[in-house]
């Protein structure tokens, strides 16, 4: 298993190899998207679903970029997968790193905490949205979509959210199933 320090270096150098835009432009564009969905659906639960669906599509694309540019070799187990997501994946795409916590009793569950979450900059929720709208739900979709492409069916939940007063964004990942140990056949 790669050490945290080495994964952090991998994340940093993969980030440098990417093209970038300003975090603020991204944040404001994402905010426009969420607002549009709220206007469209007038139902926060449905907005959560839509954000997850969009994230899923995005995750399926980002995993290719991740595999091409991260130079990460195959992950040994779920714990290592989560370290790679936190230290390399989040770093490459969102520019931030996460910290992973896991209990030895539950090897199929891990928590990733993002001390800084660019999605939330300048965001304040109206009271009626608090606890209902999962503003960061696109991340849930991205992780599920990306992991499914590497044969892991994973449940992801936002369990802590600064928009409702929590200290940091915390995601809970639960490995449900390893779909197939073989690489998928070439789709010619």
């Amino acid at each position: 298993m790669s050490s945290k320090a080495s994964l952090q270096r991998t994340g940093d150098s993969a980030f440098k190899r990417m093209d970038h835009v300003s975090s603020e432009l991204f944040t404001l564009t994402y905010g426009s998207l969420v607002l549009q969905l709220i206007e469209d659906f007038e139902d926060y639960a449905e907005v959560n679903n839509q954000l997850e669906r969009m994230g899923n599509n995005i995750g399926q694309r980002l995993i290719e970029e991740f595999l091409a540019k991260s130079r990460v070799s195959k992950c040994g187990d779920f714990a290592e997968t989560c370290e790679v997501i936190a230290l390399v994946g989040f770093r490459m795409f969102l520019g931030v790193t996460g910290t992973v916590s896991q209990s030895a009793k539950e090897p199929h569950v891990c928590h990733i905490t993002l001390a800084s979450n660019p999605l939330l900059d300048f965001v304040e929720l109206p009271d009626e949205a608090k606890g209902v709208l999962q503003y960061s739900n696109i991340l849930v979709g991205v992780l599920k979509g990306a992991l499914e492409m590497v044969q892991m069916r994973v449940d992801v939940e936002v369990v802590h959210d600064p928009l409702v007063g929590d200290e940091a964004t915390e995601l809970k990942l639960t490995l449900l199933e390893i779909i197939n140990d073989e690489p998928p056949p070439d789709d010619e």
Copy 2:
């Protein structure tokens, strides 16, 4: 008037001072937004309007960041404003630089060409959208919104678009009015 080389350096160093996310994540998120608007409005002209409206709001926010972080001093005239947009503004936020062309006969008009436009990566338009959907229209709104905050009413059009076969994205900016030479009063 600052030289192009010096503005380019200003743009590069302002870009380095920004927080970043990957261009690909931004592009895919923007793509989700455009798709959502197409589903909502089923009318490309209305999608263009909505993108411009969103861009306008974003531009009003980005100009503050621009003034705070670019360290650009007051622009002398419209030509210099356009150079600053192309070499500093686009660089800071989208990570790319534009080139400006202007005719001495029309000092209130300038064209900015973006050889690379991150919004368009992985995008292909269906035939019925070509020439109708202005996929990059958020840029029109951003420029109008940002410039209005610094007392310039400007018309912006996407006049060339790689999605319909043009070589590069080209924006035409027309200065309509300088709203007020004085800085706006403090809004206490």
